[in-house]
C-alpha cells in the first residue's frame, strides 16, 4: 500500500524550546581571525592527521598541514597564511587531547587552493572530497569520503537540514544565503553515489529556508518539510521520516539504501569540487543569553573559544559554555579549545537557560516517561538499573548499544536522572566486558 505522509516525522522524541530567534535573522559574516590560530589535527572521527609542516614553514590559506593517516581519517588545511610557530597539545571540544598546529597569521590570507574539477565522475568527486578533508559538518565529523563509499549500493541521498538542536541557526543561514551552491554540491554528491534521488529535509519551523530551497528543487532533488521535533535530524529518524525505511539495529543507513549528509557538508563539497577550496572554514552560530553579540559567522578553523567569547562579548552571567547544541553538545570547563570543522555552534548559556539548579535529582519514580519519549524505543530506566548493578549482559539485552545519546530521556525525566551518562557507561561496560 502506498503510504501518503502529509507531514513527515518519526515516532516519539521531544519538543524543547527552539530559542532560534536569538541568532536566526543575523546574516553570516566573517569572524575576525586573530593574529594566532591553533588548528587541531584531530577534527574528525578516526585517526588524527599526521603533521605535514614543520615549525618555521610558511603556509598559505589552503596549505595541507595535516595528512590523513588512514581510510577513516581526514586531511587538515591551514585556515590562514603565515608561519608555523609551534605544535602544542591541548584539550579539544570533546575533551580529548590532540596535537594542534599553531600558526602566526600574517593577515594577508594568500590562498593556494586545489584546481577545480571539470570532469565530474564518481571517482573524481570521491577523491576530491577525501583530498579536501571534508567531514560531517553537522557535528558528527565522520569523514565524508567514507560515507560516499557505501559497502552496499544505495538509491537515495538525504540531506539533513533539519537543524533540530535548539539555538543553532548556521545551517538555516546557509540554506538562505548559499542555496544555489548547496544544490550544486548535492548534484556532485549524487554523481559520487550514483543515485538519482535526493531529499533535503527541513523542519517546518524554518518556512523561509523551505521556500528558498524550493526555488531550486527539481524532480530529482526535492525539499521535504518535516515536523519540528527533536531529534528529527538523527540519521535513523530522518531516514524513517523521509522514506519510512527502518534501519535495522546494528546496521548502517546504506543497508537500507540511504546515505545521509548534513547540508553544510553539501556546501563544503560544492566548494571543494567547483572552487578547489579545501575544508578550513565553516558557518557557526554563537548564541545564548550569556553573550551580548550573538550571530552567525564564517569562522576559520583554529580560532579559540576565548577569541569567540571576546568578540561576542561574553557576559558574567554565563554558567555553561557548550560546543554544539544544548541537547547533545559538550560543556566546556574553560575557553581554551579551538574551533574546528565540526564546531557548528558555541553557546553561552545563563543559569536560567540551563536545567541545573532548579530541578532536584531524586530516585527514579518509574514513570516510564524516558521510555515513552525515546526515539529508539529503549527503556532507559532499566538500562540505568543494569548499569548500577554492573550487569553488562542485562544492559546489552536492553539494547543499550542502540542508544543515540540524543538526550530525550534525560530531558523529560522528572527525577532528573543522569540517563545519558548511564547510557554511555552501559556502552562502555558492554564493550569492555565483551558480552
Amino acid at each position: 500500500m502506498e503510504k501518503i505522509a502529509l507531514k513527515l516525522t518519526f515516532k516519539r522524541g521531544v519538543h524543547p524550546a527552539g530559542n532560534k530567534n536569538i541568532a536566526k535573522d543575523i546574516p553570516l559574516s566573517e569572524f575576525p581571525t586573530p593574529s594566532v590560530v591553533s588548528i587541531p589535527l584531530s577534527q574528525h572521527i578516526g585517526a588524527p592527521a599526521a603533521p605535514a609542516v614543520q615549525v618555521g614553514d610558511h603556509v598559505s590559506v589552503g596549505t595541507l598541514i595535516g595528512r590523513s593517516s588512514g581510510f577513516v581519517s581526514a586531511n587538515v588545511y591551514s585556515s590562514v597564511s603565515g608561519t608555523v610557530k609551534e605544535f602544542i597539545t591541548k584539550r579539544t571540544a570533546i575533551g580529548t587531547k590532540a596535537n594542534h598546529v599553531v600558526i602566526e597569521n600574517d593577515g594577508l590570507y594568500q590562498e593556494s587552493f586545489l584546481t577545480p574539477l571539470t570532469d565530474l565522475t564518481a571517482e573524481s568527486v570521491k577523491a576530491r572530497v577525501a583530498e579536501a578533508g571534508i567531514v560531517g559538518m553537522g557535528g558528527a565529523t565522520f569523514p565524508t569520503h567514507v560515507k560516499l563509499s557505501p559497502r552496499t549500493p544505495v538509491d537515495v541521498l538525504i540531506i539533513n537540514a533539519a537543524e533540530c538542536e535548539p539555538y543553532i541557526t548556521c545551517d538555516y543561514r546557509l540554506c538562505l544565503e548559499k542555496t544555489k551552491e548547496i544544490f550544486e554540491g548535492i548534484k556532485a554528491m549524487m554523481v559520487a553515489l550514483g543515485v538519482k534521488e535526493a531529499y533535503i529535509g527541513v523542519e517546518d519551523n524554518k518556512p523561509e529556508a523551505i521556500r528558498a530551497l524550493s526555488v531550486f528543487a527539481t524532480q530529482d532533488i526535492r525539499v521535504v518539510p518535516l515536523i519540528t521535533k527533536y531529534p528529527q535530524g538523527a540519521e535513523k529518524q530522518l531516514i524513517y521520516s523521509i522514506t519510512q525505511r527502518v534501519v535495522p539495529e546494528g546496521a548502517l543507513p546504506a543497508d537500507v539504501g540511504a546515505v545521509v549528509d548534513n547540508v553544510h557538508t553539501a556546501y563544503a563539497i560544492y566548494e571543494a569540487v567547483f572552487l578547489g577550496k579545501p575544508s578550513f572554514m565553516r558557518a557557526m552560530t554563537v548564541s545564548g543569553k550569556g553573550c551580548a553579540k550573538p550571530g552567525n559567522f564564517w569562522v576559520r578553523n583554529g580560532v579559540t573559544y576565548q577569541d569567540v567569547a571576546s568578540y561576542c562579548e561574553l557576559l558574567p552571567e554565563t554558567e555553561k559554555v557548550i560546543s554544539g547544541g544544548p541537547m547533545m553538545g559538550f560543556a566546556q570547563s574553560d575557553l581554551l579549545p579551538s574551533t574546528g570543522k565540526g564546531t557548528s555552534s558555541l553557546l553561552f548559556l545563563t543559569k536560567e537557560e540551563v536545567a541545573e539548579g532548579d530541578k532536584p535529582i531524586s530516585a527514579c519514580i518509574n514513570c516510564a516517561s524516558c521510555a515513552s519519549h525515546c526515539p529508539m524505543r529503549l527503556m532507559p530506566m532499566f538500562i540505568e538499573r543494569a548499569v548500577d548493578a554492573e550487569d553488562a549482559a542485562a544492559a546489552k539485552k536492553l539494547h543499550a548499544m542502540s542508544c543515540l545519546e540524543c538526550g530525550c530521556c534525560a530531558y523529560v525525566c522528572p527525577a532528573r536522572r543522569p540517563l545519558v551518562t548511564s547510557m554511555r557507561r552501559a556502552k562502555k561496560m558492554i564493550k569492555e566486558k565483551g558480552v
Binding site: 535513523k236 524513517y240 546496521a251 541537547m327 581554551l336 537557560e353 536545567a355 530516585a363 529503549l378 542502540s402
Partner: protein, 344 residues
C-alpha cells in the same frame, strides 16, 4: 581563566519534576476533597488532613531513624495519605487513618526502598490492610450524606465523640452503598443522578463521580497519567456490566451504576495509574487495566465483597512485572535474534 559548569548533555530539561507531578495529583484530588466535605461535613476534612499528616510524619520519621535522605518534599507521601483518606468511610474513628497511613508508608513504600521501588500501591494496600484488620469499621457504616442546615457539618464529629453506639445510629440511617444493591438490580434515574453528583453513601472520595471525573480529566490533559488506563479499566467494567445485565434481562441497566458507583473512578484515575506499580509500555498498561476491570467485575458480581476495585488493582500490581516481561517494547529497528530470521 573563567570556569564554567561542566556536566553531561543534555544541558536543558523540561519543567516537570517529581514534586510537580505529585502536586498536580493533589490538585486533581481537590474536587473530590471538596465534595467529601460537602457531603460528609468537616469530619471528612479532619480525616483527610490526619491521613496526609501521618503519612508525611511516618516517612519523615522513617528517613530519620534509618538515616536516609529526607524525601517528604517530593509530596508523594501526601498523595498516598490523601488517597487513603478518600478510601475511608466517613465514620471511622481517628486512629484508623493514622495506623493505615503509617502502614502504607512504612511497610508498603519505604521498606521496599521508597518512591518508585514499591511493587504495590501504598494507598490501596493500606486500605486492604484496614479492611482485613478492622473490617467492621471499614465497611459497615458507610455514613450517609449530611444536611448542612441543622448542624450537620459536625455530625460525624459528634458521632465519634459519643462512641460506638452513635456510629451504629449512623449505620441505621444508612442504606447499603449503591454497589451492595447492584447485584439486586433496580436503579431509578434519580439514584443515578445522585451517584453522579455524589449524594450517596460510600467512602469519602468515592461518592461524587463528577468530582473524580474533573480531577481525572485534568490529569490526562496535563499528561500526568496515560488515558489508556482509566479508559480501559472503566470500559472493561462497563462491558462486563453489559454482559451480566444482558444475562439478567436488563442489558443496559447495570452499566451506569457499575461505572459510577463504588471506588471505580477513584481507582481507575488515581490508583491504577500509579507509576511504580503499573507496567511501563502502552500495551502493558492496556493489559493491566483490562485485568483490573475484569477482576473488579468478577468480585462485584460473584465475590463475597461488594467492592472489588482495591483487590483488583492490588492483584494486578503484583502481576505488573510479568506483564512488563510479556509485553516488552522492541527497539526501533529491532531484529529478531534468529539465525537467518528476518523481520520487516
Amino acid at each position: 581563566m573563567n570556569k564554567f559548569v561542566v556536566s553531561s548533555s543534555p544541558h536543558i530539561a523540561n519543567r516537570r519534576t517529581v514534586s510537580g507531578i505529585m502536586q498536580e495529583v493533589l490538585i486533581a484530588l481537590l474536587p473530590a476533597v471538596i465534595a467529601s466535605v460537602y457531603f460528609f461535613g468537616f469530619y471528612a476534612l479532619f480525616l483527610e488532613l490526619l491521613c496526609v499528616g501521618s503519612a508525611i510524619g511516618a516517612e519523615a520519621l522513617y528517613n530519620k531513624v534509618m538515616k536516609r535522605e529526607q524525601t517528604i518534599k517530593d509530596c508523594s507521601a501526601a498523595v498516598t495519605g490523601l488517597l487513603l483518606a478518600l478510601n475511608l468511610p466517613a465514620t471511622v474513628p481517628f486512629y484508623v487513618p493514622i495506623i493505615g497511613s503509617a502502614f502504607a508508608i512504612v511497610f508498603v513504600k519505604m521498606l521496599f526502598g521508597g518512591i518508585g521501588k514499591n511493587f504495590a500501591n501504598p494507598a490501596i494496600t493500606g486500605r486492604v490492610f484496614l479492611l482485613l484488620a478492622w473490617g467492621a469499621l471499614m465497611t459497615k457504616p458507610w455514613g450517609s450524606p449530611i444536611h448542612w442546615s441543622d448542624g450537620g457539618a459536625f455530625y460525624y464529629f459528634r458521632c465519634i465523640l459519643k462512641g460506638n453506639s452513635a456510629i451504629q445510629d449512623v449505620a441505621a440511617v444508612t442504606t447499603a452503598t449503591p454497589l451492595s444493591s447492584l447485584t439486586q438490580g433496580g436503579y431509578a434515574g434519580k439514584d443515578l443522578l445522585k451517584m453522579f453528583l455524589g449524594a450517596t453513601g460510600g467512602s469519602l472520595g468515592e461518592t461524587s463521580a463528577l468530582a473524580l471525573l474533573i480531577g481525572g480529566v485534568y490529569l490526562i490533559v496535563r499528561r500526568i497519567i496515560d488515558w489508556r488506563v482509566p479508559v480501559t479499566f472503566v470500559g472493561t467494567v462497563a462491558l462486563f456490566a453489559l454482559i451480566y445485565g444482558g444475562a439478567n434481562g436488563d442489558a443496559l441497566g447495570y452499566i451506569l451504576p457499575s461505572v459510577l458507583g463504588g471506588g471505580l473512578l477513584l481507582g481507575a484515575f488515581f490508583m491504577a495509574t500509579d507509576y511504580s506499580t503499573s507496567p511501563n509500555t502502552k500495551t502493558g498498561l492496556v493489559v493491566f487495566a483490562f485485568g483490573c476491570g475484569l477482576i473488579t467485575s468478577l468480585i462485584r458480581f460473584y465475590g463475597s465483597y461488594p467492592e472489588g476495585v482495591s483487590f483488583a488493582i492490588l492483584l494486578m500490581n503484583i502481576l505488573t512485572p510479568y506483564i512488563d516481561k510479556a509485553f516488552k517494547m522492541h527497539p526501533f529497528g529491532y531484529v529478531k535474534q534468529k539465525a537467518g530470521g528476518q523481520k520487516k
